[in-house]
Symmetry: C2
Subunit: 227 residues, 2 copies
DNA sequence: GCTAAAGCTGACCATTTGGTCAAGAATTAA
DNA sequence: TTAATTCTTGACCAAATGGTCAGCTTTAGC
């Protein structure tokens, strides 16, 4: 008679929800810092301010806790993936793409690092996702980019390499935060810095891919190949 | 009477050198995959085909083994850091910069991932290096980039963000190899792929930063601001 | 207020961890 | 050949690992 347990649904009492949140937040930090193997339940429990037994009571096992975190991160990611079409303005789409990925790095640095750590380790838990869902997503975006190139709205760059370029250069500010801070000599990057970086990346990508405004070209359809 | 032990010097008999090489190679793989904490001496020993005691005999401790690997990686890195001056051709320098970093990802993927893992974890062993040596290196390059911008050889982009862009987008192909392979559906990236990507990145960066050829502008000095 | 469910946690377990050591085997130098 | 040095490795150790469980307390529904 009990409701079927959809793992992604948030159910249970207030206590459960509160403790689970604390554990997930703590675990995200520890896993991000030390990787799956390197993270210990003891450390996670201490970070969450709970006894180790309690962590296991709520999460069942290290494995399921880790998987839950990965799934949560993928959900956050999915939110970002609004649909685009070849009719949209390339400059705006690319700009929004860069901006939203940048904000992901800013808002969820531990989640980003957790993801990075999983990939670094060979993606043992995410291989399926990468070569399935995510691959499809990339291919569909790539098709749109290609369409833009065909219409002369941007240079005929390889769309997949372009997506990787955007991913890597934005994710960098979460994953390599320690390096960025060490080199810039800062305590932390503030909103202005992030705005600066976002502008810079947007500018370089859009200019670097020769993105043109649709009205310039598409309004004068037929008159293609204008240098 | 014993020679002073410079840790970076390779000395010792043939046996020692051979075993140390095997251990270092094995350890690099395991540390890259699982991080410092997640890597176990047992796993490293098995990967090297030696008993655990033997690993400790040669390396002393997990810590020193890890530090040795980091130092080796930093040395490889230093080789790459040839000097540049404001008199050089920006396009050539940037192109060479991207190409050499790309080759680093290709030739030493495990080393790259080891480095990434160290930074991900907050750079506990490399903080000094990052905010010292490496920071100086970045600042000196940044000065050259700024000089180029002043001379109108490229857009006035923030040189540090540019360096991070190049670092991240090239390192990506080592660190996120699992993701790249999953999404492209490939077993491995071959030399042609790497050449493609290098070309793409070079093109985007150079075009995106508005890099102009010195002869165009500098030869006609004084006649600046030519659109 | 009673009862059932949910929450809590210290004690405990087998295994693995990084590291030591002693004693023997192989190599090298004389 | 001999003596010193280097190499090799199984046995061992205290600490930490992920996980179980029994028994307790607290909460929620009636």
């Amino acid at each position: 008679m009990a409701k079927a347990e959809h793992p992604s649904e948030q159910e249970g009492g207030a206590i459960r929800r509160r403790n689970e949140q604390a554990i997930l937040a703590a675990a995200e930090r520890v896993f991000a810092r030390h990787g799956y193997r390197g993270a210990s339940l003891q450390a996670i429990a201490e970070e969450a301010g709970l006894p180790k037994s309690n962590v296991l009571y709520y999460m069942g096992s290290k494995r399921t806790l880790y998987v839950r975190l990965l799934e949560r991160m993928m959900e956050r990611w999915n939110v970002m993936l609004d649909d685009i079409s070849a009719e949209d303005d390339p400059a705006e789409v690319l700009s929004a793409f860069i901006r939203s990925k940048m904000q992901m790095s800013r808002r969820h640095p531990e989640g980003s690092r957790l993801f990075a750590s999983e990939i670094l380790g060979g993606a043992p838990f995410l291989q399926e996702y990468l070569s399935g869902e995510l691959r499809d997503w990339v291919q569909s975006r790539a098709a749109v980019f290609r369409e833009w190139a065909d219409r002369g709205l941007m240079d005929p760059v390889d769309p997949v390499w372009l997506i990787f370029l955007i991913w890597s250069s934005t994710q960098h500010y979460a994953d390599f935060e320690a390096q960025v801070l060490g080199i810039t000599g800062r305590e932390a990057l503030d909103d202005d810095d992030l705005e600066d970086i976002t502008d810079f990346l947007t500018r370089v990508v859009i200019k670097g891919c020769g993105v043109r405004h649709p009205t310039q070209t598409e309004a004068a359809r037929g008159n293609h190949a204008h240098s």
